[in-house]
Symmetry: C2
Subunit: 322 residues, 2 copies
DNA sequence: CACTAAATTGGAAACGTTTCAATATCGAAT
DNA sequence: ATTCGATATTGAAACGTTTCCAATTTAGTG
């Protein structure tokens, strides 16, 4: 592999000059530039990025840390994040933490050792005191009131819209259905918005959160069905939850949407084999991804951000379940 | 950030000694090791991976190049690839090529500059003459009769099983449905196996491949429905294709599985909201992923592989469409 | 033509490691 | 005590860049 020295020799100039040419720094005479360019072409030289990163003490690598790329919401997110990074000449390193705090720590250490430029994280840990000062971080959907900037969808508003849409679809007794909340998670605000809107409109509204102790999924849903037999509208914290509920409800002889209207949250399914097509609050995945990257790169450049949380507007998408 | 020099100073030894300690090389006296360890702990020292990569002229980074991580099949694959890499201390860099040859080239260049240890690729290009000599590559589902080792599911056998299962389900006139084949793609063998088995059993068997010229998806399926009105069994090259077919068939008043049995290929859907549950040939995604990584790392170590193509067995999974 | 300022280029240090030849230390055998 | 081999340790070079200062060239001016 030809190095910058070889180029310098062939072109009859100093390595510093070659360096200036390839970084098109000013103050290099056109004729020298041409000589150098010729040598570069002749030797088929390409700069060694690793050496560069080393010398510069920083790289153009950004890590995406999430529980599992297998999850379709995350994989869509990852798609846009990679795309946006690539546009700025950055690369993406993928870290599946499995949602395990110890693995998250392990990865953070590794990333620090590897001097990544920044991290986009969807984490289960209280990462507040871990890397914040060293490496710029953007967190998705988790808000750790610190310098870790958070990008999320407008969960509160999404909850409000869900309530209104359920009512509009004819529901008299809507309920919120969601599993145990994560600490720091912004997604809990979906419930808050939902409940708030119900109060505003003076509508009775039930809330069913999964108890910590309950690990059996079947039991979770049947508990809900038993405990709230008169519910005629369900806002599930996730499309996944909504789908599972519909499944169980069907088994219990409840018809959707005739007996119960259902609205989910996410809207990631765009495949023909999703049936029934879920009514849902669609997350602006692409915009969240691009925003996260842009903010992160600003931080990488040393800029400071004016806000702690960036909430992107959501939209309601009618399906076959309302 | 403390460097190896700081550690050496504090411990009162030479940097070379510290280096041997952290790489636990032999020939270092226990007492010195302890001194060094103490200094490391005190300074909170961690070796700089970038500097290491630079010095060693190689990194522990493997690239995964695929059309789009958004595709659920690829995202499952990526999940296991990352997991397997991590177990060997390697990192994953994600490259979405969009299936565009020029973007693939661009990424290959970038990867070469970044001295990645190896590449797992699902590419649309004839990458045969591009990087093969420089960087170890494993290709998934594409077989370029060269030193680019290929890992794939047993597509031929999958096709045979599909035919048999359709017949078993009562189909008299089965057909293959698949879009235009990719060059070098091993997936075409699904058709070969299907047709071969039909011939063996003496059963008539139609084949409908998407013509190059035809880009309109709706037209594609309605063409098929028109042209083969008496078909009572469909083997689709992909679950995706199967799902789309079912959709269109339903619109045309054809009932699945009453009028037509359908079998897909992939079996990636494991979500409750996939309906109807597709009968399918399940790809051994996890094993493919882990095999690909293990083979790649062997190549990275300099071993040569004894085969050009590794075919992993598939299984049939009955759903609601047969 | 001499002089000055500006433009261009050369050369070397530095980034944090690994590695290798050279040197030092230690125990045991003489 | 002295020598020998084995075991430990040192110190410096090298990896491929960038960057800074000094040196040199060039162009412009009187």
């Amino acid at each position: 592999m030809a190095s910058i020295k070889d180029v310098a020799n062939l072109a009859g100039v100093a390595v510093g000059t070659v360096s200036r040419v390839i970084n098109n720094a000013p103050a290099v005479k056109p004729t020298t530039r041409d000589k150098v360019m010729a040598a570069i072409k002749q030797l088929n030289y390409v700069p060694d990025e690793v050496a560069r990163n080393f010398k510069m003490q920083k790289s153009k690598m950004v890590a995406l840390m999430l529980p599992s790329i297998w999850n379709p919401f995350f994989s869509e997110l990852a798609y846009y994040i990679e795309d946006e990074l690539d546009r700025s000449g950055f690369k993406l390193m993928l870290c599946n933490s499995g949602g395990k705090p110890e693995k998250e720590l392990y990865y953070f250490d590794m990333l620090k050792q590897n001097k990544v430029a920044g991290i986009v994280g969807i984490t289960y840990n209280d990462i507040e005191n871990i890397v914040s000062t060293d490496i710029p971080i953007i967190s998705i959907d988790r808000h750790f009131n610190k310098q870790i900037t958070c990008v999320t969808s407008d969960n509160f508003e999404g909850g409000r819209v869900a309530l209104r849409e359920l009512v509009k679809a004819g529901s008299k007794k809507p309920a919120f259905l969601g599993s145990v909340p994560l600490m720091y998670s912004e997604t809990l605000r979906r419930k808050d918005g939902f409940v708030h809107e119900a109060q505003t409109l003076g509508i009775p509204c039930a809330v069913y959160e999964e108890p910590d102790s309950l690990k059996d999924e079947d039991q979770y849903y049947s508990n809900f069905l038993q405990r709230h037999p008169d519910i005629d509208g369900v806002f599930a914290i996730t499309d996944m939850t909504a789908a599972r509920y519909i499944e169980k409800a069907k088994e219990a002889g409840i018809r959707v949407p005739d007996d119960v209207k259902v609205i989910g949250y996410d809207g990631i399914q765009d495949h023909p084999y999703f049936h029934p097509l879920l009514s849902t609050i669609r997350q602006p995945v692409e915009e969240m991804a691009r925003t996260a990257v842009r903010l992160l790169l600003k931080k990488v450049e040393g800029e400071s951000l004016d806000r702690e949380v960036f909430r992107i507007p959501v939209t309601y998408r009618a399906g076959e379940t309302t």
